[in-house]
Amino acid sequence: MGRTLAEKVWDDHVVRRAEGEPDLLYIDLHLLHEVTSPQAFDGLRKSGRQVRRLDLTIATEDHNTPTLDIDKPIADPVSRAQLETLRKNCAEFGVRLHPLGDVEQGVVHVVGPQLGLTQPGTTVVCGDSHTSTHGAFGALAFGIGTSQVEHVLATQTLPMVRPKTMAITVDGELPDGVTAKDLILAIIARIGTGGGQGYVLEYRGEAIEKLSMEARMTICNMSIEAGARAGMIAPDETTFAYLKGRPHAPEGADWDAAVEYWKTLRTDDDAEFDAEVVIDAAELSPFVTWGTNPGQGAPLSATVPDPASYEDASERFAAEKALEYMGLAAGQPLRSIKVDTVFVGSCTNGRIEDLRAAAEVLKGRKVADGVRMLVVPGSARVGLQAVSEGLDVVFKEAGAEWRHAGCSMCLGMNPDQLAPGERSASTSNRNFEGRQGKGGRTHLVSPQVAAATAVTGHLASPADLSADVPTPAGV
């Protein structure tokens, strides 16, 4: 019988297999950041171990980094200590590090792909659940805990139980104005936050094949919000074109050998998935969340659901709690929800295409009075690219704040946070209680919806704006 993409990549990395034990899996690329690594380095030090493969390991600073005044000492002493700990650990053990201020610094899941380190058929791990992002290249990529970070540092392997596979087939074409973010939010609402648990998801079908690499990363990034540790998309010409010429992409004969291998990384026609979900792309529209987990979402055109409409008692209770926390009433149109803050950025939607999409909506328009909009590029390189295209000017002229790269308000470990009761439209990945700041209320949206929301002051899509501003002549 044929094998799925995930099974092929898995099989190619088995170092040791024994009955009744997890497979020992080789790890091709280990990404590190400051939050989940200190205790792992400490463990190495205590047991007198070294990093086995420095040439497969790379670190950057992202979660704690400020997005303003990055040339000044970091004000929060605890954040500063954590960054200093990473710097000390990398220096001591010899790990390549891109610190704050370095041109390659940025959110770890933006940095790996843009350097060309994330490649098809590789295994990629990081002490961060959004490592699933890298699956967009046909890599098997998953988040790990700190004990596993230490394990990979010491052995370059991980004992892992083979996951099941689930196909998410998206047939047809996404309608105009519907983005990868809308699609993944709709998928999570459909299968639930636990629906992917125990599975590797493979996104496939016509709508997926037509997506750019950056859009594919947005999809795979949020696999974890459906409970799946990893999400994958088979590599194709789009993938190869993205990689060609990147700093760490193979060259010459190695490139040819790599592409030959990469082309084998497709699910065989006779392979069987353990589960399959089919989505009709044509039925989708801009999608936003109303609750406190990423599965609590609905089309922007809908209303806040009535908790009483849920048959399952625990879902009903969760919806009641969510509405209470979010300060929303059942039946309220989602478009009527007013926001204080708009955040464009994160490993979900902080890449250049995301910034272009938001800028296109904002061009010639203004952020509504009383709304604060933060635009945080996913990496320093993305920031430079945006500046070279003049996007920073578009954002600033519209009244948005143009910041330096980092995780920023996605989780508010740095000073970019919501105040209690403040409400955001955010292009990030989690609307958990307090995620963006104590008492903060988060609506997950696409970059396009974020920008339109900034203009109107309430949840809106770009289509809602067309009446407000005439299209400039000649465009």
């Binding site: 997890p22 020992l24 091709d28 590789t122 659940s129 790990i144 936050t193 879902e315 307090g434």
Partner: protein, 197 residues
């Protein structure tokens, strides 16, 4: 890692589903660089509410957490496991755990036990009515026992063996170091490297 064989203690019934790791330990606690001292951050936001179950005096010293489905979703932060352990929990019971959280818990000797929701319901009812009721989590017998409740649970044999013996994963893996070297010798040259060769 401390070995886990069997444990008996009072329980905390947590009637919540989708308890994500941001609730278990909020992000601002992640700036610490040690594995201890996270107990005050456990469920920090909910603990501000005096009626929250962990704040009830009769729950002091409880060691078994009985939670709703999809416990530990979200961020991979192992700090969530450390926070539960620092607070004094030895075992967590739920009908479903998020994968990364489950892996983290078992690597630290915090036993995560999957039981049917009906059993979880029964444990909630028992321990809500009688806060002094004791719950036994027996890894040797793979059984959870409380007054009127006996339920067996699954845990793969390898994970169980490591927990029962408190074995360290890295040492176990390094016993097969020659297998790792053999694999490395066969890796294709086109695989990415972060440093010049």
């Amino acid at each position: 890692m401390e070995a886990f064989t069997t444990h008996t203690g009072r329980a905390v019934p947590l009637r919540r589903s989708n308890v994500d790791t941001d609730q278990i330990i909020p992000a601002h606690w992640l700036k610490k660089v040690t594995r201890d001292g996270f107990e005050d951050g456990l469920f920090e936001s909910w603990r501000k509410d005096p009626s929250f179950v962990l704040n009830q005096p009769e729950r002091a010293g409880a060691t078994v957490l009985v939670a709703g489905p999809d416990f530990g979703t979200g961020s991979s932060r192992e700090h969530a496991v450390w926070a539960l352990q620092n607070y004094g929990f030895k075992a967590v019971v739920s009908s479903r755990f998020a994968d990364i959280f489950r892996g983290n818990s078992l690597k630290n000797g915090l036993l995560t036990v999957v039981l049917d929701q009906q059993i979880v319901d029964a444990l909630w009812e028992l321990t809500e009515q009688d806060p002094t009721a004791e719950v036994t989590v027996d890894l040797e017998a793979r059984e959870v026992r409380a007054e009127g409740i006996t339920a067996s649970f699954e845990l793969d044999e390898n994970a169980r063996w490591r927990l029962l013996n408190g074995l360290d994963d890295i040492s176990l893996t390094l016993r097969d170091e020659q297998d790792i070297s053999a694999y490395e010798a066969k890796r294709p040259s086109f695989k990415p490297r972060t440093l010049p060769v």
